[in-house]
Amino acid sequence: MNRVLGWAVALGLSLAAGGCGGDDGDDASSPSTTTSSGYFESLPPGFPTPKESVDNPLTNAKIELGRHLFYDPRMSVNQTMACASCHQPARAFSDGRPTSIGATGENHPRNAMSLSNVVYNATFNWANPGLATLHAQALIPMFGEFPVELGWSDREAEILDRFRHDPLYRQLFADAYPGESDPFDADRVAKAIAAFGSTLISGNSPYDQSTYQGNRNAMSEAARRGQELFFSERMECFHCHGGFNFSQAVSHSNITLAQAEFHNNGLYNINGTGDYPLSNRGLWEFTHRSADMGRFRAPTLRNIELTAPYMHDGSIATLEEVLDHYSRGGRLIAEGPLAGDGAKNPFKSELIVGFSLTTREKQDVIAFLQSLTDWAFLCDPRFADPFGNFEAHSHCHQ
């Protein structure tokens, strides 16, 4: 608990002390910003205050409960998987697989998304325009049946009893939901996990140190050259991956106009009709409008170095190949059931038009993307597994 307290003072203390609560001094340069609950006391310099859900105000106790639940295999029906199984801390909270596998062995059609800065997402999942809160999102892996992820459906009481009868959780739930006689329900589980997820804020990468903290030397010369390319009209990366979170689809307390954006980036063009594979059609699955075929949310690029493989279906293995994909302006699949030239997908974003890079320029862009890796975030003990099952990245032990 103390580690969490050291990061952000509790509600009552922040109201009483007005932002003077932090005593460990390791974030001295952070601006003091608070939400209605007073929680986001210490944000990375230059970062906006997240929106806080009115029905799920943050408290340290709720975050601590959420951290335990997030890392606890008892969260899955057969006690084989935790949230962290697909969102591993060593991989910036992704899982390293092209597509994920649920607790009962079912294949998920999508790649597990990194949780870096999820609190700033305008919407959640790869292409769900209606999923706007972390609390609502957390219920999907819990209860999803097609495919089964954690397998809560019809097994809710059994899973909740595991926590209800564990002294550790009795205390954690009591602290998180004070005054409630029976806080052991799925909604409160989801709220606690959402609370923990919303604290996973990454804003201390070499890029951030250079951009927001006045330390220009934090980025290498190669990364700086790559930055120029990234923000050039030649590559056009920033149209979809622009702004402080390297994603157009952001939300925070200053955002009053919805920024939900989805794009087709030319991965497929089955039979030349623009189709994507049946299991992964993006926004189209919600609207059935042709123009929405293959449209997915552009995710943040923060810690992207650690979240391979890439794309909504994990179908590109490395950052180099991602650059090759965008360089060509779409992917050519020469044969097989998915054959087609994604570059000619009629629903592709008009901003993906291809470019050519020299070998050195390509390395520079990769260096820039690597400058978005935030070791302070990845090695932060406040985000670590309290049970010690899920290791931090090996870099953190050096």
Binding site: G46, F47, P48, T49, T123, P129, Y207, S210, T211, R216, R224, Q227, E228, F231, E233, R234, E236, F238, H239, G242, G243, F244, N245, S247, Q248, A249, V250, H252, S253, N254, I255, T256, L257, A258, Q259, A260, E261, F262, G272, L283, T287, R289, A291, D292, R295, K344, P346, E350, L351, V353, F355, S356
Partner: protein, 311 residues
């Protein structure tokens, strides 16, 4: 004659901003002129998007656009900022419209117009209006600038107030925002000829070594133009922005290889030569290192914006 009276703008703290935004929204819902002050009236100016006289509809394809073949053009995004909106009295005096600080579309003297309506990017809010208050008088004209003033154009998107944080309008910190964003496709549906062709207007040659820092000095080409329309009755008329006029000398099915798609304001982009002057801007084309810059003065009179009628 009295000089134009400009509204006094303050830069409130975020909390106050949110509060005032909420109050403005409340006031906007409630109607009534209680807050307009003595001698003040409300004014709401509607903008309409058109392509060669036809109403803009997101995703629609228009014909006879530009000078190339087949001349078809599909438009999928249409947003732009305006600032310093002024009404002009019969005797030519200008009066600033004091914009409602609604916490969403308008901040200080800047407003974002978003004409997309149902562009397939999910349920996006759209806005075709600039709303504010102005002293009672008889006005017969209107002037406004397209873009964002320098002082507000290069602020950090992470902490900027709405609508300056509209992520789709971000360029980068040094370059500021896109002033106009028209996304489109020439020869749509033709697999061999389909060409992405956009108009992204913004400031260029903003000095500085870091794209993620404010420019070290004013931009070489601010690319902010003022538009004045006569015979404009704020209670009767609309303002039409016809992008067909900006593209009238372009081949929207061709883009010079290795340059931005269409015209993104770059001084080295040949596609900007016929377009920038039609955005009421003098354009300097610089082909390369050892070439003499070529000057392309703005087209007079401008035809990008015109007076239209409520439909």
């Amino acid at each position: 004659m009295a000089p134009p009276r400009h509204p006094r703008f303050s830069v409130p703290t975020r909390g106050v901003m949110a509060l005032s935004g909420a109050l403005a929204l409340l006031a906007g819902c409630g109607g009534g002129d209680d807050d307009d002050g003595p001698g003040q009236r409300r004014a709401v100016i509607e903008f309409q998007g058109k392509v060669n006289g036809q109403d803009f509809s997101c995703g629609a394809t228009y014909s006879n656009v530009g000078v190339g073949q087949p001349g078809t053009y599909q438009v999928t995004d249409w947003r732009f900022y305006v600032h310093n909106v002024e009404l002009v009295t019969v005797d030519g005096a200008r009066q600033a419209l004091e914009l409602n600080q609604d916490g969403a579309w308008q901040y200080q003297n800047v407003a974002l117009l978003d004409l997309r309506r149902d562009c397939g990017n999910g349920a996006l809010p759209t806005n075709a209006f600039v709303a504010g208050t102005i002293p009672n008088d008889r006005y017969t004209g209107i002037c406004f600038k397209v873009g964002i003033p320098y002082e507000l154009n290069h602020v950090n998107d992470a902490t900027a107030p709405s609508p300056l944080n509209n992520s789709g309008m971000l360029w980068n910190w040094r370059g500021g925002r896109k002033f106009i964003r028209i996304d489109g496709m020439g020869a749509p549906g033709d697999v061999d000829r389909a060409t992405a062709f956009h108009i992204h207007l913004g400031s260029t040659q903003c000095p500085g070594s870091d794209p993620n820092a404010p420019p070290s000095a004013a931009c070489g080409y601010p690319n902010i133009a003022e538009f004045c329309l006569d015979k404009f009755d704020v209670d009767q008329d609309t303002i039409v922005m016809d992008i067909g006029t900006a593209l009238e000398a372009s081949n929207v099915a061709f883009n010079t290889p290795d340059t931005a798609s269409g015209c993104m304001s770059a001084n080295s982009d040949p596609e900007c030569i016929p377009i920038m002057p039609r955005l009421n801007l003098d354009f300097t084309y610089i082909a390369g290192a050892d070439t003499t810059p070529e000057q392309y003065p703005k087209t007079v009179p401008q035809r990008l914006f015109s007076v239209g009628n409520h439909e």
